[in-house]
């Protein structure tokens, strides 16, 4: 049965196109969020996809194959391909075939009395599957057949889950999570003089993560756009859980930002917060660390010394900020933290290495997401206008470009001298607004900083100076900053409303998202994101890839040429 006004177009490759202009679009979107992943959300048609992971998540959330089929039938504009209900049912039925629980206590014996080793029990409801698992030599390293299924060590929980997922079998994890030590914490809405409130979507995100404490909850990923307050979601989760927490984030500036937010928006005592970075090694009930310190080791064969220290602490919650940046080596160590509640926060679960599934498996399924445009529409993040300005090269530059080697071409195009006049014009046009000029080449940035009379922040800028400049920018004392790649990561510049990108890495989608995030904090005015691209150069190709990503995210993106 088809509905010629239905917003969904279900395709036989399990993708679903959602027409944003069709009636009942929002209802359909809400239904899809339960069992499909949002892949792209450009202007007219959003693309969702039912993946094994999304269907298992749906099963974990209590949806049945019939619920999914009914939703598809209700909203589909054309006949649902015949195979789809079968595929959905087959996929979802796999969830629950394997269940991980706490193993019953071992019978009292001399050995167990001396050192009881908690273990987990993997139960299997499918005889054929169980026989296959018994015969799997790789899994035999971690799984020991026993009555009721297979026994495994706590520390192997994450590894086994990943291995089974690779074989097409998800695990319903109902084993208990370690409680950790108590650390009560409450949100302080006075904001120490700057009142604030928890937005509805933030509360929903926390609720979906905490899940009422039911088995199978307390771990997962929340996907929210840059500027939408993921840090607040993290703090709200900490308040809900009320246990000792380890926060892992991307860099020291982000560590400080977390600290500042905790102090301004919760009732935590400063002495309860510790920083565990290269500069400081404080272990407190709430400890904020970087990924780098977690994965540091003196040589490639040595253990991770700092991880060992952190692993032994009785954490009740681990928050992975910018979880899409979870370095691959961290996967293994995070796998060993499976017994702890785990919250991943991210704006873009797109990884250049394609390991999204590992993130979902080790941190947990995606519990909550909402498209960027949706928050923009509701006014929670700024409305951003993206514009790509194609700039000609001067004749001598064109000649130099034409005869240069390929690698040199990239730089020549990036350092097109005409870009400077464009930047000046844009800065003048947006006078008074918080402006970031972002680039890749330090020498170029130095020239721009000098020409614009603006401070420059690069990786070499001392931390203290960086913090001071950020603070001055936030306070409105400085309205223009020239920044290098350090601006890609988690810094909070709520008053930046204009970002001018003069050069960037080779089409990194992640970088594009991060840069845009710098201007998306809610504010009273619209935000502008300019990308300057030299015409007839390799920059156009890079710009195409990045532009494609932003358009797929639903941003309005216009292209213009700069007429000299």
């Amino acid at each position: 049965m088809s509905n010629d006004k239905g917003p969904m177009i279900v395709q036989s490759d399990l993708s679903i196109l959602l027409d944003v202009h069709a009636p009942r679009f929002e209802e359909a979107r809400d239904a899809l969020a339960g069992f499909a992943l949002l892949e792209k959300s450009p202007e007219h048609l959003h693309t969702y996809r039912m993946t094994p992971l999304s269907l298992w998540n749906a099963a974990a959330a209590g949806l049945s194959p019939g619920d999914v089929a009914a939703a598809l039938e209700e909203f589909s504009r054309y006949d649902v391909p015949k195979d789809i209900p079968f595929i959905v049912a087959d996929t979802m039925s796999r969830f629950g075939a394997l269940v991980l629980r706490d193993a019953p206590q071992a019978a009292e014996s001399a050995e167990s009395a001396a050192a009881p080793t908690p273990r987990l029990l993997l139960g299997c409801s499918d005889d054929l599957l169980e026989r296959r698992l018994r015969g799997d030599k790789v899994l035999a390293k971690w799984l020991s057949p026993c009555e009721g299924g297979f026994s495994l060590r706590l520390v192997d929980r994450g590894t086994v889950k990943i291995e089974l997922l690779k074989r097409g079998w998800p695990v319903r994890d109902e084993a208990s999570l370690r409680e950790g030590d108590p650390c009560p914490l409450a949100l302080d809405f006075s904001g120490k003089g700057r009142p604030w409130s928890l937005r509805p979507y933030q509360a929903e995100a926390v609720a979906s993560f905490v899940g009422g404490g039911r088995p199978g909850t307390g771990y997962g990923v929340v996907v929210l756009p840059c500027g939408s307050g993921k840090t607040i979601v993290g703090m709200a989760a900490m308040a809900a859980v009320g246990r000792t927490t380890l926060v892992i984030t991307t860099n020291v500036a982000a560590v400080h930002q977390w600290r500042d937010e905790l102090l301004s928006k919760t009732d935590i005592d400063p002495s309860m917060i510790g920083e565990y970075t290269g500069a400081a090694k404080e272990l407190k009930p709430v400890t904020i660390a970087t990924y780098q310190i977690l994965t540091w080791r003196p040589d490639k064969n040595a253990d991770f010394p700092h991880f060992e220290v952190l692993r032994k602490q009785p954490w009740g919650l681990i928050v992975c900020d910018e979880v899409h940046l979870l370095p691959a080596p961290v996967f293994r160590v995070v796998a060993e933290l499976q017994a702890v509640r785990r919250l991943g926060l991210t704006a873009t679960l797109v990884r250049e290495d394609g390991k999204e599934e590992d993130v979902f498996c080790l941190i947990g399924p995606k519990r909550y997401d909402v498209p960027w445009k949706e928050l923009e529409r509701k006014g929670f993040i700024a409305e951003a206008w993206c514009k790509e300005i194609r700039i000609p090269m001067a004749d001598e530059t064109r000649l130099a470009y034409a005869i240069a080697a390929q690698r040199a071409k990239i730089r020549i195009a990036a350092e097109n001298s005409i870009k400077e006049e464009v930047v000046k014009a844009l800065v003048e046009h947006h006078a008074g607004e918080g402006i970031l000029v972002i680039g890749q080449y330090i020498e170029q940035l130095k020239r721009y900083a000098a020409a614009l009379g603006a401070p420059l922040i690069t990786g070499a800028t001392p931390e203290a100076e960086r913090e001071s400049l950020y603070g001055a920018f936030r306070a409105g004392q400085i309205r223009l900053l020239v920044v290098s790649k350090v601006a890609n990561f988690a810094i909070d510049l709520p008053d930046a409303s204009v970002a001018i990108q003069i050069s960037g890495s080779f089409g990194s989608r992640q970088e594009e998202a991060q840069r845009l995030g710098r201007v998306l904090r809610p504010k009273e005015r619209n935000s502008f994101f300019y990308s300057l691209v030299s015409r007839y150069s390799v920059e156009e190709e890079f710009a195409d890839n990045r532009r494609r990503f932003l358009i797929e995210q639903g941003y309005r993106y216009a292209i213009e040429t700069w007429d000299e």
């Binding site: 196109l17 450009p42 007219h44 048609l45 693309t47 094994p52 996929t91 993106y557 216009a558 292209i559």
Partner: protein, 747 residues
């Protein structure tokens, strides 16, 4: 079944056959089927009694039940084919049973009254058994099926292939079943790939590796897609919709699009027909209809059964043409093997342990022929999503401007710089593309896409590379080219004075067109600069070009000097001229050997000297001197022979203006003959004297056409000296003489 309901003709034939039996054999039949025949043989009565016996349902059931598989195959084949000769039957049953066995079984089946031989020697089913045979023998599983495989499938309770597979099919992660793509979609994929790829095939007809990889990405989980697309491309080649050229495979995309849109349900069969040399829409429609029931149930053909089925498809002479000599061996039916092979290559049947299982999904037609609905969505990244409401024509139009990105389950096309350039080359403008996308999406084009298209079009127009021929001619030749209509006959552009660009035309075509216009064949040059320097300026030695000589006349002397191949200005050897040009060059070199080193003009010495010694009438002398000047006299002997033929030195006979045809005065047919001879020959001229408005006029004319009017003929041509067009009534001609042209151009 009553006699009334049987095939009346065949019933009559049966009765006739029975009555034609000898008394002995009829008595034996009666004895076998009725008991004793009685003392007195009453043939009609016996035949009637036998007929009555055969009408007994029990007799019919028993007769059919006693048939084994081969009996049923024979009887069923005869039933389906109608009356057929033994030779045809043998051909239809090839591979099933031997010559002798067939003979034996036919005889036995005749005895059993299941079959009978008609008066013209063909075998037919006894009409009394029609219904029983249809139910018990003329069945698809017997006639065409792979018995063992079909039985095993039925015994296993496995549903026919093509239905929804059970859980055992969902082995991949998440239970995603490999999708068999219909031929219609694979043909669209082929269209898209051929748009991008000029060399899709290796020399042996297999798909190139690059295309295989793209197919694997576009059609994941369909292992037969490569073979099917390969077959589609080869079908296009077989049908002339595609052809091989120097650059690979050139496709007539318009014809390909028409093929896709004109054949919907029968596309797979149309392609099979093209591949096997059996094209035609009627045939393909009939094949589609015939095959549909078999495809739908995933029928399994035996090897011989498939070929037999093809023979039985509508349009094939399965039983032999009507009235065919019953004893004559059938002419081999062309293409049966090829058609069977084509069905397999296209994936309509899959080989399985010696049998052929139908693949119904290949014959599906998911896309409609036409649609008025919005059928696509364009986003600012250049991705065009094709909606299920799209038609074949919509998809083809989108493939004309974009690159196919995904095709299995969800069709997406990407608009790229390269695809846009391809569309521009095909004649589309930015406005065309924009209008099309807006019509298909029902929305205005995203700004980023509109920007990209305009930018790509600017780039496309900024730098152009042309392939073709550049013809450079002098002013006189230019006049002739332009006035003779040569320009309008060939695709060309005038790009300067005396400079013409010919694209998409072969050099030979240009040469012929020039020759048809009376111009000499051009020499293929590799340097524009060098050619210009030689043809219009003094030569390097400072010698002036002789009056009337063209650039070509210089070459032999230069070649003769060096006695080697002509060189270009930089000293490198000129590329070898081909064919005609090479022959001409050789001819020039030879001629040049006899010319004086000074290369000046004037008459050759020997004939001129001989002429001077002759005592000739002035008129004759003048004419001969003209001929010598035109280098038409090679030897003294030739000169003497001409003089003698013209009436000797006394000039009794006026020398004809030419060594050929001439007509004058009232010889109207003769004049027409001369004119027609000139039109047929190359390089011919006509010397004409005619009266016009009271004046006598004469000219040398290059004739182009002869047109009949109500009372006369009009000769059209071009005045050789002035280049002006002329029309002269044959009736006004006083004299017309044919002068054969010569190699060195006009005088």
């Amino acid at each position: 079944m009553t006699e009334r309901k049987m095939d009346a003709t065949r019933l009559a034939q049966w009765r006739e056959a029975m009555l034609a039996e000898t008394s002995v054999s009829l008595r034996a039949l009666a004895s076998n089927y009725l008991g004793a025949a009685g003392e007195k043989l009453d043939k009609p009565k016996l035949v009637g009694a036998i007929a009555a016996m055969l009408d007994d349902p029990e007799a019919q059931r028993t007769a059919v039940a006693m048939m084994d598989r081969l009996d049923a195959l024979i009887v069923g084949t005869v039933s389906l084919a109608g009356a057929t000769s033994e030779a045809w039957l043998r051909d239809l049953l090839v591979g099933e049973l031997s010559f002798h066995e067939l003979e034996y079984r036919l005889a036995n089946l005749g005895e059993r009254l299941l079959l009978f031989a008609t008066q013209d020697g063909r075998w037919a089913v006894n009409p009394h058994f029609d219904a029983a045979v249809r139910a018990g023998a003329a069945r698809a599983d017997i006639l065409f099926g792979a018995a063992a495989e079909e039985e095993a499938r039925i015994a296993a309770g496995t549903p026919p292939a093509g239905g929804a597979q059970g859980a055992e099919g969902a082995e991949a992660l998440g239970g995603v079943r490999p999708r068999i793509m219909p031929i219609q979609e694979l043909a669209l994929v082929a269209y898209g790939l051929l748009r991008d790829c000029r060399e899709p095939l290796l020399k042996d007809g297999r798909l190139a590796a690059k295309l295989r990889r793209r197919l694997a990405a576009l059609c994941p989980g369909d292992p037969g897609a490569v073979g099917a697309v390969e077959a589609i491309v080869n079908a296009l080649l077989a049908a002339g919709i595609a052809s091989r050229d120097d650059e690979g495979v050139a496709v007539n995309f318009r014809a390909f699009a028409e093929l896709l849109c004109a054949h919907r349900e029968d596309l797979a069969f149309a392609l099979a027909g093209m591949l096997s040399g059996r094209p035609g829409k009627t045939r393909s429609l009939a094949a589609a209809e015939a095959c549909r029931p078999f495809l739908d149930r995933g029928f399994v053909f035996s090897c011989a059964g498939l070929r037999r089925f093809i023979r039985f498809m509508p349009g094939e002479a399965a039983g032999g043409p009507p009235g065919a000599d019953a004893q004559a061996a059938p002419a081999p039916v062309p293409g049966v093997e090829a058609y069977a092979d084509a069905l397999e290559r296209l994936g309509l049947v899959e080989r399985e342990a010696g049998a052929f299982r139908c693949e119904p999904e290949r014959a599906l037609c998911p896309w409609r022929a036409a649609s008025q609905e919005a059928c696509a969505s364009v986003d600012g990244s250049g991705a065009i999503h094709i909606l299920p409401s799209a038609s074949l024509r919509d998809i083809v139009e989108l493939l004309d401007i974009g690159v196919l990105k995904s095709a299995s389950g969800a069709w997406t096309i990407g608009l790229t710089r390269e695809s846009a350039r391809r569309a521009f080359t095909a004649g589309k403008t930015v406005e065309d593309i924009g209008r099309m996308l807006e019509r298909m999406s029902g929305r205005s084009l995203p700004q980023a896409i509109a920007f990209d298209l305009r930018m790509w079009e600017d780039e496309y127009e900024a730098i152009k590379l042309y392939r073709g021929y550049l013809l450079s001619v002098d002013a006189a030749s230019a006049r002739i080219i332009e006035q003779s209509g040569l320009l309008s006959r060939l695709p060309n552009e005038a790009i300067g004075e005396g400079l013409y660009y010919f694209g998409n035309v072969s050099g030979a075509t240009i040469e012929k067109a020039l020759a048809d216009s009376g111009l000499p064949p051009p020499a293929l040059r590799s340097s524009v600069r060098q050619a210009q320097a030689r043809s219009h300026q003094k030569s390097a030695s400072g010698e002036a070009k002789a009056p009337g000589q063209t650039a070509l006349e210089h070459e032999p002397r230069e070649a003769a000097r060096g006695t080697e191949a002509p060189r270009s200005g930089d000293g490198s050897k000129a590329p070898a001229a081909k064919g005609h040009d090479a022959g001409l060059r050789a001819a020039f070199a030879y001629l040049a050997e006899g010319l004086p080193a000074s290369g000046g003009g004037g008459s050759p010495a020997l004939p001129a000297g001989e002429l001077a010694r002759m005592n000739l009438p002035p008129g004759l002398r003048k004419k001969l001197e003209e001929r010598v000047r035109r280098k038409l006299i090679y030897t003294a002997g030739q000169l003497r022979a001409i003089v003698e033929s013209e009436g000797g030195a006394g000039g009794r006979k006026a020398l004809s203006a030419d060594f050929g045809l001439s007509a004058k005065g009232l010889d109207f047919p003769g004049k027409l003959r001369v004119i027609q001879a000139a039109l047929k020959a190359t390089y011919s001229r006509l010397d004409i004297r005619w009266s016009s408005e009271g004046e006598i006029r004469s000219c040398a004319l290059r004739p182009t056409s002869l047109r009949k009017t109500e009372k006369d003929y009009v000769l059209e041509g071009e005045d050789v000296s002035s280049g002006d067009p002329l029309s002269i009534r044959v009736g006004s001609m006083i004299q017309v003489s044919l002068r054969k042209g010569y190699l060195l151009g006009d005088e």
